[in-house]
Amino acid sequence: MFLLSFVSYIMVDFAIDPLEDLRASTSPNKEQLIANRSAMLMLDKSPLERYWSWLIGFVQGDFGIAWQTQQKVGDMLPNAISTSVSLVLMATVLAIILGVIVGVVSALRQYTGFDYAITFVSFVLYSLPVFWVAVLLKQYLAIGLNDFLAKPEPNWLLVAAGSILCGLFWMGAIGGKPGRLALVFASATAATFAVVVFILISGWLDHPSIGIVGLSVIAIASAIVVTMLFAGLANRRALYSALTVAAIGIALYYPLQWYFYFFEMDWLYIFELLGAAILVGLGVGWLFGGPDRAVSMRGGALTALLTSVVVFVDRVLQVYPQYYASGKIRGRPIATIGAETPSLHADFWTTQLDRFTHILLPTIALVLISFASYTRYQRGSMLEVMSQDYIRTARAKGLSERVVIMRHALRNALMPLTAIVPIDFLTLIGGAIITETIFGWSGMGKLFNDALKAAEIDPVMAYIVLVGGVTMLANILADFCYGLLDPRIRVNA
């Protein structure tokens, strides 16, 4: 870390030229100005001495100043960090989840059209320059979507194409014989089409909310899916406990609306409520008990988590009409500039919605790029694991394909992924420089970009040291995760 700061200080110091504008200037007191600035920035001293004084300051918590604006770096940092962290973390988490799921499915359907399509798409995404995508998103998606939201006139061709694409995706992902393929394709296409048509026709877009009906459908569906993946539907106790949790969530819908209405919320509250929900899930699983108490509890907690998220999203969506009507956003809900609408003094829910509309585009830009590498990587590692001897053993034991994949293959296939996450995280931080610049977020990346252009060494160094620290943290975290997954590291024997 120390070495890093030293090497980069010398490099940056050599790279920037604070006197450039003065040297080219024609003002009569040019020499005087140069001397003044040199004195201010200690340019008359050697780089080593400059480094030393910077280091002393840094260790004492003084990050220096951006000399052109005379702003203290220490004052600029907190805001910039929180902005960047929300962007990068969100993108990383989403990219990992999506990448892992698609990668695994692609590996399981190796050599099918689905696999080839995913491979091709991931190659294209991998080759996309992030700045180009970001500009495109800004110009097409944001404008188009905003126009559409202002006047929701469906483009039927697009709807039909989207539905068919969706149908093809599910067909490829689920796989099977031609007959089943056709069935899956037809039902997925029809379902997508129906949902889209419903949304368009019912005026849902003007008053979006999930409502108790939507909540019920989603909660019960997630209970079933969670049980299917983690316990198998044959495990009745697990199924019932997940369903009970879903039912509790549905029953609490109206009381919660009332509660949200009367109490001012903040994140702490929200997390407390989430914690309570998970506890309820665990409790229900425990009560159903049986020999597999742990499995039921896990299923209950997961269902509780998913249901809570739906309730939260529902509440945020309810403020949309209000948000849309407020003059601050001028009828363009999908924002292209900045991390939040300036001087939007609104309640908790509206602020969340505002945040969401701002983070949407930069996150999509970042996720598209990094999702591709996770997909490729996860696919490769899953294929590798599926050819291992212990997978054959698991099959020979008579385990169902679900158990073989979820229990035996996935955990082993996730292990190499922990090595790639820190590297990709680093790429994302780099990508954040570009997205922040394009979307006008005043985050760390923009700070670095501006400071480097303005020949201000202190903010650049603050950025480098912070990123270096975060990288090391990410590496440590990845090692820790690896240890959790792999007993050979955990238990030294």
Partner: protein, 348 residues
């Protein structure tokens, strides 16, 4: 003689070994790789597209003193507006607001990007392979030292180091008080310098892989038997280990090159890479992003070419990976297999 032995292929009871052996008989490893690669449809078409693009761009704008066939050789010259600047017969890629021919600009950008890509490839190859080979072969303190050094380079995003280096290359001459002519000279060579500078930050991942490869290969018995035969360290490294790691090296240099294209354009976009008077695809997009609403073609064409280059290089890398991987075999079509099996059982 020994015909019988041919039937006993090494390996455990894999029925297909015998067939595999028959097929590859009389081919050197290189020929096998080449054959597998040429059968890789995606990689071959990517190679075709890449070569065509390169040829097209280079022949259009000429190389060095040799002029190209495109009528507007100066990518900065302004021409009278035609068709309101939209693509027209004279300016197939359109014109910008002052009438510069976009085709000439984009083709020059492609040339620059390709040049930088190749330079990055060569630089990473040299640095990465030497560092990785020395660290992996000699291990011990040398390995420790070199690997700590690579760790240091890997701690920061390549974009950050690239930006600092880019600024360094462009500012240093002025700072050091060089004469205007030499500064101009440096600017003319900017793409070359940038390519080498970026190569100097992209090598660590290659070095790590080469090191891993050397660490594994040096334990192999053929290395021991070469040492027993009296081969020197240098001979072992060059003659015995390097040819066996050539697959890993080629594949990863190719993949690095594709990410290098994107990196270079991103840097140029931010203003830390290639800058005027040189033209790169990245700074084309950067200068034109404001004109997006009015002249989208200024934005689309450079972007399209970045994608073409990165994508084709990626596909070639993937094809090479498959070709070098001894485990990949020709993929049987599942439906064809099913049909054939039905036929086969009927015959019996």
């Amino acid at each position: 003689m020994n015909e019988e032995e041919l039937d006993y292929q090494a390996g455990e009871g894999r029925g297909d070994n015998a067939i595999e052996a028959k097929e590859t008989e009389g081919l050197s490893q290189g020929q096998i790789v080449w054959r597998k690669f040429t059968r890789h449809v995606g990689a071959m078409s990517a190679l075709g597209v890449l070569l065509a693009t390169a040829l097209f761009a280079i022949s259009a704008m000429g190389v060095g003193p040799i002029p190209g066939w495109w009528k507007y050789q100066d990518p900065e010259a302004t021409h009278p507006m035609e068709n309101g600047g939209a693509p027209s017969a004279n300016h197939p890629f359109g014109q910008d607001n002052i009438g510069v021919d976009n085709f000439a600009a984009v083709m020059t950008g492609v040339k620059t990007s390709l040049l930088i890509m190749v330079l990055i490839g060569v630089t990473t190859l040299i640095v990465g392979v030497s560092v990785g080979a020395l660290a992996g072969y000699y291990r011990g303190w040398l390995d420790n030292l070199l690997m700590r050094f690579t760790d240091l380079v890997i701690t920061l995003p390549t974009l950050v180091i690239g930006a600092v280096l880019g600024v360094m290359v462009s500012k240093a001459p002025g700072k050091l008080g060089w004469s205007d002519e030499s500064v101009q000279e440096v600017y003319r060579w900017m793409p070359v310098l940038l390519g080498i500078a970026l190569g100097l930050i992209l090598w660590p991942s290659l070095a790590r892989l080469v090191r891993g490869e050397f660490l594994a290969l040096r334990e192999r018995e053929f290395v021991d038997s070469a040492r027993v035969a009296g081969a020197s360290d240098l001979r072992i490294m060059l003659k015995h280990i390097l040819p066996n790691s050539v697959g890993v090296i080629i594949v990863n240099v190719t993949l690095l090159m594709s990410s290098a294209v994107v990196l270079e354009t991103a840097l140029s976009f931010l203003g830390f890479g290639v800058r005027s008077p040189n033209i790169s695809l990245g700074n084309l997009i950067s200068t034109n992003q404001g004109a997006f609403a009015t002249r989208p073609w200024l934005f689309w064409w450079p972007g399209l070419f970045i994608i073409i280059i990165a994508l084709t290089v990626n596909f070639i890398g993937d094809g090479l990976r498959d070709a070098f991987d001894p485990r990949t075999k020709k993929i049987p079509s599942i439906s064809k297999m099913r049909r054939s099996f039905a036929q086969f059982t009927k015959e019996q």
